[in-house]
């Protein structure tokens, strides 16, 4: 039994060493310690009230960064599904409706959710500078009693 524990320990130590070594030589290495989260900048987020105004005016594009299943279960009325996890697959279908200056609002769900922030970053890389994200978007929108839809269509 003691030998089994020694071997188990050897597996853990060797695995950890392999991992540290592979990460050290990988061109896509990540830092050993998780960097602190980027502070949210005011110009990155949109207040629910302003999002509602944009929505009512029909000038803003709402993009749902969550999975298609979450989108189908309920989304902001008129929002288009653009799951950030499958961005490359979905973006080509959505690109034709966006212009570089279009006000875009990305959202996901939950205070801790960073899908919308990541979607915002991807879109900014592509030159869509007028994109912001609605923190806790789905819950906030739903709780405010604003119009929502279910299903896979906007």
């Amino acid at each position: 039994m003691r030998r089994t524990f020694q071997r188990a320990l050897a597996i853990v130590v060797a695995g950890a060493a392999l991992g540290l070594g592979a990460n050290a030589v990988s061109p896509r290495r990540i830092p050993l310690l998780t960097p602190p989260p980027e502070p949210t900048k005011a110009q990155d987020t949109v207040a629910l009230k302003d999002a509602e105004t944009l929505w009512k005016s029909g000038t803003g594009y709402f993009l749902d960064a969550r999975s298609p299943a979450d989108y189908a279960a309920g989304h902001i009325a008129g929002a288009v599904s653009l799951p950030v996890e499958d961005f490359d697959d979905h973006f080509p279908q959505i690109a034709p409706m966006l212009t570089p200056d279009a006000p875009i609002i990305a959202y996901c769900d939950g205070q801790e959710c960073d899908l919308s922030r990541r979607l915002m970053a991807r879109l900014r890389e592509l030159g869509y500078h007028n994109v912001r994200h609605l923190v806790n978007g789905w819950t906030a929108w739903h709780a405010a009693g604003l119009l929502t839809h279910t299903g896979s269509q906007p």
């Binding site: 089994t4 060797a14 991992g19 310690l33 801790e112």
Partner: protein
């Protein structure tokens, strides 16, 4: 019984091998692009998944993401090959305890996050189903770790 043990060993080891590979090389499966993966170890996605569990201390999430898949790879590989069977099953048992605790933590806090169990290959979220599946794997791992070796211990070991 021997056959059952062999099958369980291959299933458990195979699952660990597959999940380790999916995490380390960031394997992605999509309808449009098919199977894509990084040709070098790329743990950024998995590190984000680990961070999303919000298990303190936050700073150590990357270290877990860097080392854990390789321990899975080694333990799963050894179990499949039938080398150090009990020891690798013991390591997998310990990992399953860690996974169950992490998923339990996320469920208890109501986090709506991706499991990350197989990297991004499965979009499964944490929840009762993920807990049940991991509990089943835990039982298999305990069974393989605690049963006696097939071969009797060589007599020479008991001699002075």
């Amino acid at each position: 019984m021997k056959w059952i043990n062999l099958i369980l060993r291959l299933i458990l080891g195979g699952i660990f091998l597959a999940s380790a590979i999916a995490k380390i090389w960031d394997v992605q499966v999509s309808h449009v692009h098919g199977i894509q993966f990084s040709n070098v170890p790329d743990l950024a996605t998995f590190a984000r998944d680990v961070t999303s569990y919000h298990v303190p201390p936050r700073e150590l999430a990357n270290l877990v993401a860097i080392t854990l898949p390789w321990i899975e790879l080694l333990a799963g590989g050894l179990l499949v090959c039938g080398i150090w069977k009990q020891a690798s099953a013991l390591v997998i048992t310990a990992l399953m305890v860690v996974f169950l605790a992490a998923i339990g933590w996320a469920v208890a806090h109501g986090y709506d996050i991706r499991c990350g169990c197989f990297g991004t290959v499965d979009a499964r979220k944490v929840g009762i189903m993920a807990l049940a599946q991991d509990a089943a794997l835990f039982v298999i791992a305990v069974w393989l770790a605690w049963r006696r070796e097939d071969k009797p211990q060589p007599a020479t070991e008991t001699n002075p």
